[in-house]
Each structure stands twice: as structure tokens, then as C-alpha cells.
């Protein structure tokens, strides 16, 4: 017999026979009514019957995911302890939480909604058929697809955002000022660095008095797929963490769980400090439908888990403390099952996603109309810039121009919050955020701990409460330890919520090579392969300060109006660069366009230097800078008139604009400072071959190597001279081909 069915039969038989574990106490805890107890049991029963039905549906080819909540239904009591507006980032075994919460909001239809999700129907109200996922806009449950607790950093960030949103009086804040965040996960994923990092960041913040109203709920069923959690490990690991209140409860017992969860919620709400709620529970019938527990658990162990069925314990409470007869308990359970069966038959008839267009409809969030702004006033600008105001007229380098643009943007949009390592008091490793903390305070320019996952989680969490985060990752190489926070979390939120949840943010990353021997690989990383394939993510990469100002403004517009996730990649080596061709020529400094001035750069707009048609050099960042040097020499010494195209936006590549910029040139040289494998040049070569097959294409890119120290730092990278040689080759090669034709 299917293990789910044997648990089901055992439950019915034991309730009918009155063989439930006796209640541990003689009365319900104060504040918990028999009616609420019965309602929580009904949520448990619905969760359980949905799990059974998911298996039936899969057997019929009508359902696509059987991982369930059986054994974890005590989460109904956790839900009961919180308010609907306490945003919940849930473990995938928490159907009972969502069901119980739905009862606090009239008009909710949890059975129907979850069955649409099982059936992958386009009408599934949260993901639109894109995943079997818990989630609801109305219930403040953003969808989580994570299986490894990678939702914990943003939950931590959302908790921080509750306090910050209030402090900044953010007009678009979503969460009540006294909200508490709930974040749940399993005992196995509690070991994951992401979970550890998020909990650590919560403690680190609370330790120094920062707001962190969050309840981490660890659902400890004692096993992660097949690997057992060492007995006592969760308690030993979390009971004595700094600034973290530890509470434990028996997740098989609704009354005990409700009591502990209520205490956790009240503590977090009152003190704005984090709580770790350790809820013990069992996992019934394996990890998922295909998992055979007998391969790694003894028969006795499986039977022990089944004998600890939380629904049986709830039946005992209902009978012993709420006066329900066994027949009444079974009636609730059976009628729930019958309703689920009927609802499922309707749900599987609902429309499915059928086309790529339908699937992709929510990759890019819907547009919105934020409050209009007239820009910062002159007085406000003078006050913010202080003595630096008079310098705004003078051409400046990239780092300073970004700093000024950030200043004006933060003046204009009070919801912008900067966060990162050393961005505050120090003003960033390269002074890009210099003085911003003085200008806007430590609330809006947040010095974070050294943990990129937490920085990105903080940013996403801020966005969940209507703030506009501009997090900074100090060096490109550091993003890789946290890249799942972009890849698996930030970029997927709109997709898996049908655009209902979004986390617009602008992630500033200092990166790329050419730092004249300083720093080696970890400060000169030159690969963005891990970012450029992520659907929906925009990558901006300015080569100069004037462009950076306009592009940063466009990035803020994209985030505010189109709710996009934007990576803003800043070439470190060009931060302080002033000269292009010769010392003191000052050609790489640019005047600062005040807000509202300048022509602006829209997403996808490319820059074109020169009108030559002998060759088009397509590049970006340092490659563009070096190509401009080569362009001069090509013209002056070789009589070759080239145009140099600055891509500016590395993803998505807008080929209509790129081909238009190439214009009359027949030959194209792509110069890419990133490692050739996975570099933007791969996309450019392929895309131009498809969109403009008449072009003669060639490229140079960085070697597939890491960057060394010292004088060898640039030898794997394109240089002015190697660009020159490649350009001559491209033009000469074409000439040779013409001659031989």
C-alpha cells in the first residue's frame, strides 16, 4: 500500500477506536478556544488530504509534484499565532500554515488555489502554473521555490525593512510598522551557509540594537532526504546564539506549538529582536513521492514516525480537551477529503500554460506609476553637496560622477537606501559613496557585515517593503559566493508570482580588470557569465562618468517604474582615470549633467564615437576605453577610419540598436575584456551572425585565465596594441579576401 494511504487508514482506524495519544495537559492554554483548535485541525486535515490528492493526481498524469506537508501540519498553529500582515517566507512543507492563515481573511479559497497549483494551471493564483508553490499576495506569503533556505536572507532583510520603512516614512511601504516576519525552513537546510548567514546577520544586527523583528521557524523532522540530523544538533547549534531568543515546541501538539509561536510572535513584536522557534515534527512517507524511505530507514523508524502522526495528536486534543466525539473528528477529516476530491476534479480541467509567451509573461514585472517627482530643489542640492557644490561645474572622473548622481538620486527619491561593506563611514573602497552617509545618514547608507548573501538578502527584503535598494558588492569576484541570491531569488520573484511580488533593486558591483597590477584575481575578476544568462536581469556597464550618470538615472527609473533587477557594473580601473590619449589631456573626465539636464540614455542605447565606416569596433568599459585609443592611431597612422561602439548595456543586448550603430561599416571587431568563454562577445558573435549575416566579424577577448599580480596583470587581457593589431587584421584580412575574390 502507498505509505500515504497506510498513514491515512491508520489515522481513521485509531480515531474510530479512540486510540489517540492522551493529551499531556488537562486544559487548553489560556487564549486558545476549542473552536480555534478545531479550525487548526481542519487546516491540518486539508493539508493532509491535499498531499494524498497530489499523489492521486500524479498517478493520473494530472499533478506534477508530490512533495508534501505531512508530518509538518503543526505549522497551522504557527500561522494562528501571527497576523495576516506578518509577511511569511515559507518552507515548502507549510501548506497548513497558508491554509490556516487564509481563514483570517474572508473570501479566501485555499483548497481551490492549492489544487490549481498542483495541476499547474495557468489560473493558479500565485505562480500562474509555473510551479507548485505556496504563496499568496493577499496573505502576505511571497512564493518561495527554494529547497535550501535561500529565502532566509531576504526574510532577514524584510524584517530590517519593517523598522527602516517606518523610520524613513516610506510612502509605499507594504508592511505595518509593527509587523513581524516569519521565515521557516527544515532542520537539514538550517545547516546551509545561506541559512547560517541570514541568522547570523539577524543576530549581528540585533546585537547592536538594530531592528530585527523576525521569527525563524526551524521545522525539525530529524532528517534531510536520507541523512539524519544528529540528535540534539539544532538545539545545540541555535540555543545560545547572541541576541537570538531560542524557543522550542512540540510540533505534533497544536496547543504547545500555538503557545510557543504566540510567545515568539509577541516577543519579536515587542522587542524587535529575532527569535528562533525550534519546532520538532516528523516526516511522513518520505521526502517526496519517488522517495522510498526503506532504503535508508529501518522499519521501526518508519513506524515510529507514523505513530507520531500530528493529526492523531490533534484528534486527541479535540476529544480530550474540546469535547468532540471521534465521529465528529472523523467527519471533519472525511468531509475535507471529499471536498478536496471534488475540487480537484474541477481544478484539473482549468487551462494550462501552453506557449513560451505565456510562460514568460511574468519574467519582466508589470509597470507601475510611482509618485512623480520634480527633482531635488536647488536649495536641497546646495545643502546636500555643501562645499562640493561649486565643483559640480568642473569635469570629473567616473567615481566622482557616480557619487554626485547618487547624491541627487537620493535627494529626489527618499526611498533609496544604499547598503554594502564599507559604503558608509569609509565611503567605499574607491570613494564612490564618499560623504553619502554624512549627507543622508546611516539609515539610508548602511554599513553591512561582511556577507554578500546577506547584503543581497537585505536589498531584496527592503524592496519587499517598498524601499528602493542600491546594494553594493565590493568586488565582482565576491558576488559569486552569493550569486544564487540574484539567480534563484531576486530574478525569479516576479516570474513565480505572476508579477504580483517584485523586488526592484540596483546592484552596484565594482569589477573588471586593468588595475595596473593591484589586487590580483579577486579584485580584477573579469567574468560576468554567471549574470548574463539570467532571464530578466539587466546588466549596465558604463565606460565613462557621463554615461554612468545617465545610466544610473535610467536604472533608477527602470527599478521604480518597471520594477526591474539591474546589475550596475562599474569598471574599477576607470574610476579615477582622467586621461585618454596622453597625460593631462583630461579626455576621460566629463561634466556633470544636473538632474533634468542631459539627453539621457535609455535601456539598450549604445554610444558611438566617430563616424568611420572602415571598421566598427564593438566593446564596453575598459575595452571601449582602449579601443578609443586604438581608433586614434588607426586613423592617424594607418588611414583607417573606425567607429567605436560602446554597448553600455550588456544584457539584454539590443541587436537592432547595435546593428544600426554599426551602420555602413562592413567589418566588425568585437573587443571583450571578459574571459572569452562565457563573455558577452559570445552573444555578440552569435547575435550579429543571426541579425546581420553580411558583416565580417572578428573578435579579441581575454584569455580563459585568472588575473595575476604585478606587471603580468594585464597580459591575458586585450590591450590598446592588441586591439590595434586585430583591427588591422580585420581590415587587412577583408582586403585580402576582396583581392582573392
Amino acid at each position: 500500500m502507498d505509505p500515504a494511504e497506510s498513514v491515512h487508514e491508520a489515522f481513521r482506524a485509531r480515531v474510530a477506536a479512540g486510540e489517540w495519544p492522551r493529551a499531556q495537559t488537562s486544559a487548553l492554554p489560556a487564549g486558545l478556544t476549542p473552536e480555534t483548535l478545531a479550525e487548526m485541525f481542519a487546516s491540518q486535515a486539508l493539508s493532509r488530504q491535499l498531499d494524498r490528492t497530489a499523489r492521486f493526481l500524479q498517478a493520473r498524469g494530472e499533478g506534477f509534484y508530490t512533495i508534501g506537508s505531512s508530518g509538518h501540519e503543526g505549522m497551522a498553529a504557527v500561522a494562528e499565532a501571527f497576523r495576516v500582515s506578518d509577511m511569511a517566507f515559507l518552507h515548502y512543507r507549510d501548506a497548513a500554515f497558508q491554509i490556516q492563515r487564509s481563514k483570517k481573511l474572508p473570501g479566501q479559497t485555499p483548497a481551490w488555489d492549492l489544487l490549481l497549483s498542483f495541476a499547474a494551471s495557468a489560473e493558479d493564483p500565485i505562480s500562474g502554473g509555473r510551479h507548485k508553490v505556496l504563496g499568496s499576495k493577499a496573505l502576505f506569503i511571497p512564493p518561495q521555490t527554494s529547497t535550501i533556505a535561500s529565502h532566509l536572507p531576504k526574510a532577514m532583510g524584510a524584517a530590517y525593512a519593517v523598522g527602516l520603512g517606518k523610520r524613513l516614512e516610506a510612502p509605499d511601504r507594504v508592511l505595518p510598522d509593527d509587523a513581524v516576519i516569519v521565515a521557516s525552513f527544515g532542520d537539514a537546510s538550517a545547516n546551509h551557509s545561506t541559512a547560517q548567514g541570514a541568522i547570523n546577520a539577524a543576530c549581528w544586527t540585533a546585537w547592536q540594537g538594530g531592528p530585527m523583528p523576525i521569527v525563524f521557524v526551524c521545522e525539525d523532522n530529524g532528517i534531510g532526504i536520507s541523512v539524519k540530523t544528529p540528535r540534539g544538533w539544532i538545539e545545540a547549534a541555535f540555543a545560545n546564539r547572541p541576541a537570538l531568543k531560542y524557543l522550542a515546541c512540540d510540533g505534533l501538539d497544536l496547543a504547545d506549538t500555538w503557545q510557543a509561536a504566540s510567545e515568539a510572535a509577541a516577543f519579536a513584536r515587542r522587542t524587535r529582536r529575532p527569535v528562533f522557534l525550534h519546532m520538532s515534527c516528523v516526516r511522513l512517507y518520505g521526502h517526496a513521492g519517488s522517495d522510498v524511505q526503506g532504503a535508508y530507514l529501518s522499519k521501526a523508524e518508519i513506524e515510529e514516525a507514523e505513530s507520531n502522526d500530528p493529526l492523531l495528536r490533534s484528534a486527541g486534543l479535540l476529544a480530550d480537551l474540546a469535547g468532540l466525539a471521534p465521529a465528529e473528528i472523523l467527519q471533519i477529516y472525511d468531509e475535507t477529503g471529499e471536498a478536496v476530491t471534488r475540487v480537484a476534479e474541477q481544478a484539473i480541467t482549468r487551462p494550462k500554460l501552453t506557449t513560451a509567451k505565456e510562460v514568460m509573461a511574468s519574467l519582466i514585472p508589470p509597470r507601475r506609476t510611482p509618485a512623480p517627482s520634480n527633482g531635488p530643489s536647488l536649495e536641497a542640492r546646495k545643502a546636500a553637496f555643501g562645499s562640493e557644490f561649486v565643483a559640480l561645474d568642473k569635469p570629473a572622473h567616473l567615481a566622482r560622477l557616480i557619487n554626485w548622481a547618487l547624491t541627487d538620486l537620493m535627494l529626489e527619491h527618499g526611498e533609496i537606501v544604499l547598503a554594502g561593506e564599507d559604503v558608509g563611514a569609509k565611503g567605499g573602497v574607491y570613494n564612490v559613496t564618499s560623504k553619502l552617509q554624512v549627507r543622508f545618514g546611516s539609515q539610508r547608507v548602511v554599513d553591512t557585515l561582511l556577507d554578500e548573501q546577506s547584503i543581497l538578502g537585505l536589498a531584496m527584503g527592503l524592496a519587499h517593503n517598498g524601499l528602493l535598494p542600491i546594494p553594493e558588492i565590493q568586488f565582482l569576484a565576491y558576488v559569486h559566493n552569493a550569486e544564487d541570491q540574484i539567480r534563484g531569488e531576486a530574478s525569479t520573484l516576479s516570474f513565480f508570482s505572476s508579477g504580483q511580488y517584485t523586488n526592484p533593486l540596483i546592484l552596484r558591483i565594482a569589477g573588471l580588470g586593468y588595475q595596473r597590477g593591484f589586487g590580483g584575481h579577486f579584485h580584477n575578476d573579469n567574468s560576468i557569465a554567471a549574470l548574463r544568462d539570467i532571464p530578466g536581469v539587466i546588466i549596465a556597464c558604463p565606460s565613462n562618468g557621463a554615461d554612468a550618470v545617465a545610466m544610473l538615472r535610467e536604472a533608477v527609473r527602470l527599478a521604480r517604474e518597471e520594477q526591474r533587477v539591474i546589475v550596475f557594473l562599474e569598471p574599477i580601473a576607470l574610476y579615477m582615470t582622467r586621461d585618454l590619449h596622453a597625460e593631462k589631456d583630461g579626455l576621460w573626465t566629463f561634466p556633470y549633467a544636473a538632474p533634468g539636464a542631459g539627453s539621457g540614455i535609455a535601456l539598450g542605447d549604445v554610444g558611438v564615437a566617430g563616424k568611420g565606416s572602415d571598421l566598427a569596433i564593438v566593446s564596453y568599459a575598459n575595452g571601449h576605453f582602449l579601443s578609443r585609443q586604438a581608433q586614434k592611431i588607426l586613423g592617424e597612422q594607418h588611414g583607417i577610419n573606425a567607429r567605436v561602439i560602446d554597448l553600455r548595456w550588456l544584457s539584454p543586448l539590443d541587436f537592432s540598436k547595435i546593428v544600426a550603430a554599426i551602420g555602413p561599416a562592413k567589418r566588425v571587431l568585437i573587443v571583450d575584456e571578459c574571459r572569452i568563454t562565457g563573455s558577452p562577445s559570445e552573444g555578440l558573435m552569435a547575435g550579429l551572425a543571426e541579425h546581420a549575416p553580411q558583416l565580417s566579424l572578428s573578435r579579441i577577448a581575454a584569455e580563459d585565465s585568472f588575473i595575476p599580480l604585478g606587471r603580468a596583470a594585464t597580459v591575458t587581457l586585450p590591450s590598446r596594441d592588441s586591439i590595434l593589431a586585430a583591427a588591422l587584421g580585420a581590415v587587412g584580412g577583408a582586403a585580402r579576401r576582396r583581392r582573392s575574390a
Partner: protein, 347 residues
Amino acid sequence: MASKRTALVICPGRGTYNAAELGYLARWGADPAFIAMADSYRASQGQPSVSALDGAEAWKAGVHARGDNASALIFASSYTDYLAIDRDAFDIVAVTGNSMGWYTALACGGALSAKPGLALANTMGRYMQEAMIGGQAIWSLVDEDWRPIPGRRQALTNAIAAINGHGGAELYVSIELGGMLVLAGNETGLAAMTAAAPRGPGRFPMGLPGHAGFHSPLQSRVSERAKTTISVAPFGQPNVPMIDGAGRIWRPHMSDVRALWDYTLGQQVTETYDFTLAVQVGVKEFAPDALIVLGPGETLGGAIAQSLFGLRWLGMESKADFLARQASDPFLLAMGREEQRRLVTQR
């Protein structure tokens, strides 16, 4: 024995006992014990008996449509219809109602027994009649084929927003009624709306004579009076799930009785009654084999069908779809319609 069909029972609201319904109780042999109790209760209140009203020579608006008479007549008709459902054929999985039909639903669902159920409907009808604050009128959101008129809801919403609170006008959405929007307002508000808002199809908008401005803040005095005079004591756990006018489900063993009393005399009286949502919640969470609409009358069918179209329930999106389904295998069984009543009651 063939398995029972599951049914969601829907209790109608005011305006359903009209000239055609005169004699409804007598015609279908309404449960004599209940009628005796009802007549006795009405006598105790100094009101004409439901039997006498039902057996009158002629239907008179001034008598039968008055709140203090209509409520009792409709409650009696609906409740005795409920008792007449063949329980060997139907398993009732939930009950809901429209407007005052909520009071009937409370009795059908067992949260109130018959007498306090009747007393509640009767008392609230009387209070409304005595206070008679404001009125109701009904606009259509759909065309003659019951398809949404593009932009109509927005136009009505905009008009309400422009009128309410200006020049002494009060105007609120009273009932979401499938493809119709019932508005409650004072005279100024309803007159302004009638002048300003789009009209049609057919006779829409229609005033509802004898109706007060139910389900709106206009009734807050009635709500306060009810809360001081109607006790929570008769309220108890339902024995069948009940879906209220906010789409909330009140289930057996799980209902906070005081909250149920509070909703019934509070929010239900002073805020929008969302019948559309109640029907939609009912079919989505219970997926019944049939919807049984209690009598009197059969005017609720359109609103129910239009509520189902919003979900494309059973693939139905238009009046034609609905009529085809009703002709072949009726999903909606109206007890006020003889041929459908026979499918519901014991023959």
C-alpha cells in the same frame, strides 16, 4: 443506492416574494409545524401571520413588500423549502444567501434554530422598516447576453466616487450581485446616480421600492439597535458550513459564535454584501454537484449564473452557455420553479 449529489444551498433575499409568489407557502405545503410556530410568533409581535399574508386575496405592495412583512414571508418560504429538500438525494455541503438570505442561511446552517432565525429576520426587517433610512437601486454590469459591458464597472465606480459625500449625497455599493450592482444611498445620492451613471440594458437602473439602503453605513443606527436588543445566546455552532457576504466560511465546531453574532448584526448590515464572492467561494471550496436556490421566486438565477461566469465555472461564460447547461443537465435548481423543484424534493 446511488450516491447522493452534493449541493450548495442559496437563500434568496428581499424582493423575491412578489405577486406571482402569493400563496407560495400553501401551494407547496410548507412544513406545518414551522408555519404554526411562525404564525404564533408573529401574533406575539402584533404582526399579521405569514399564513394570512400568504393567503391574502391579492398581493399588495403596501402590505407584502413592507420590510416587516416581506422578511418573515421570505424567511418562511425559504426555510420551509430547505426542509423540503430530499436529503436522501442531496448531501448539503454548504449554505449561503443573498442579503437577508443570510438570516435564512443561519437557520438552514443550524447556527440558529428555526424560531430565533425567524425572529432575527423579522426583527431586522422591522427595524429597517421603522428606520427606513435611504433606498436601493440596481445597475447592470452586463449586457442582454450577460456579458460584461466593457468599462461599465469603472464608470459606475467613478460616478459613485464623484457623488458620494458631495452636496449631501450618500452613495455606497450595497450588494455585489453577479452582473448587477445594487447601490444604497439617500435620495440625493440615488437621484444623482440615476442622472449621471450609464443606463441599460433594458429597464436598468431600477429602483427597489420598499427597500432601505441596506448593507451600507446608512444602517449604522439599525446595527447599533440590533446589537443592543438581539442577544448572542441563541447563536450556536452551525451544522453545515455557511458562507457569508464577505466570503467567509463559518464551519461546524470552528465558529466563534460571538464573532458570528457580531458579523450578522454589524459588518453584514453596514458594509457591502458580496453575494458574487459568496457564490464563487462556495463552488471553489466545495465544488458541489448542484446549486439549490430556495424559493420564493426565481430571480436570483441570473445573478448566480453571472457569478459563475466570472470563474468560467463548468466552462460557462454566457447566458447561452448557461441556458444550454440548464436544458441538458441543470446545475442550478430553483425551488421556486416547479420543474426544477421536483428534482429537489421527494416526489
